[in-house]
Symmetry: C2
Amino acid sequence: MTAGTDKSADGPRRRDASATREAILNSAIEAFIRLGYDGAGVREVAGGAGVTAMLVNRYFGSKEQLFAEAVDRSFAPPTVINDDPSDLSERTATRLAARTSPDADDLDPFLLMLRSAANPRAAEIIRAGIEKHVGRRLADILPGPAAAPRAELLLALIAGVWLMRKVIGTPALAGMDQAALTRELRDLMQLLVNAQPATSGGDAAPGAISSSSKCTGFASN
Amino acid sequence: MTAGTDKSADGPRRRDASATREAILNSAIEAFIRLGYDGAGVREVAGGAGVTAMLVNRYFGSKEQLFAEAVDRSFAPPTVINDDPSDLSERTATRLAARTSPDADDLDPFLLMLRSAANPRAAEIIRAGIEKHVGRRLADILPGPAAAPRAELLLALIAGVWLMRKVIGTPALAGMDQAALTRELRDLMQLLVNAQPATSGGDAAPGAISSSSKCTGFASN
DNA sequence: CTGCTATGTCTACGACTGTAGACATGCTTG
DNA sequence: CAAGCATGTCTACAGTCGTAGACATAGCAG
């Protein structure tokens, strides 16, 4: 990509602070997605932007602050959530089940999270980013009570599937029929989107859940 | 803990190869669960076992081989799967939703996976461990066709929830009513346990969102 | 054209990592 | 008791990490 731009090998690049900063940030996002917080070094990030390692710290202060900005930018765009919540399950399920990953860039933040979560500092930054951008907006478009935890459960489901498929690489999920996987995931997410768990204040009130409420007879714990 | 045992400070420990090996392996499992593959150093593991770093490599060859053995042992025990598959959803949901983590040690392998997945070598070792122990056994006790991918989806759901709750630490899931969370998770997992996705040949058959209508249908094993 | 400041690079440091060989020690067998 | 081998430790070495200060250069103002 960026073949036509003046990126490499044709001169040391014109001096432009904001453009350099942008290049470093983009390289950092790509590196953190691919290698995680601990795996991506400052030299790697700098090399991807065509600059020296020291410039990274000069622009962002430290690797941790760079990561914070990368997370903030990476989670800011639509990221799973679109303006249209009606087909959220179908759309997300399709992207999660897609065999090839051509344009699943809106799931890249999940890769960034999955590969950086081991570091406690990074985990805290990610938690803040999710709360700031995704969790809140996702909870807003979810109907019914207790939207926030259901939104996080939705994120958990997406993260788990993406972990198995893209990070761990379990074979059965990759070999599963794509349409069947899409349906399965869509049903799961629909259950989270539509279900209305009993409000925390009242008692369990079993049977209130819409579709799969009285699956097994066993009442609350 | 282990106050009564001759673990520390009362002599340099009796020389016993298998016991030392066991101590190193246990310390490694604990360290890998807590810090992940990249985060746990050999010196940390050795210190936890009361030995020197070199002894670790002397017994296990390398850190990677030590990790492989730790994964193999950590995933070997019941690990989520019990001998009784009937209450799998209820039991797992309860453990996932438990506010305090007293005895959720059977979910520790998921922590190990989540915190080590960033490293490609570690991810491959984990994938092999899951395939060898959990995936196969879990697929065996799942009724209906396409059990293997549904088993992995089950693992993905567990991993995702555990990631959000224990690694990232999103607040809404922690604050959610425990009983409600248990029910929500149980319904999700029941959908995966009982659902019979149309065989790859059939079409999508849209509109069958609430496919978990005849939930309790799972008769035999 | 000349000088100044923003922009970028170079060298380097201390800390940490996984790993290797040489050395010391203790248990066990003769 | 004494020898021998298994068991464990010490020192060390490349390598990488994030970060810091000193130095070089490009681009613009006068």
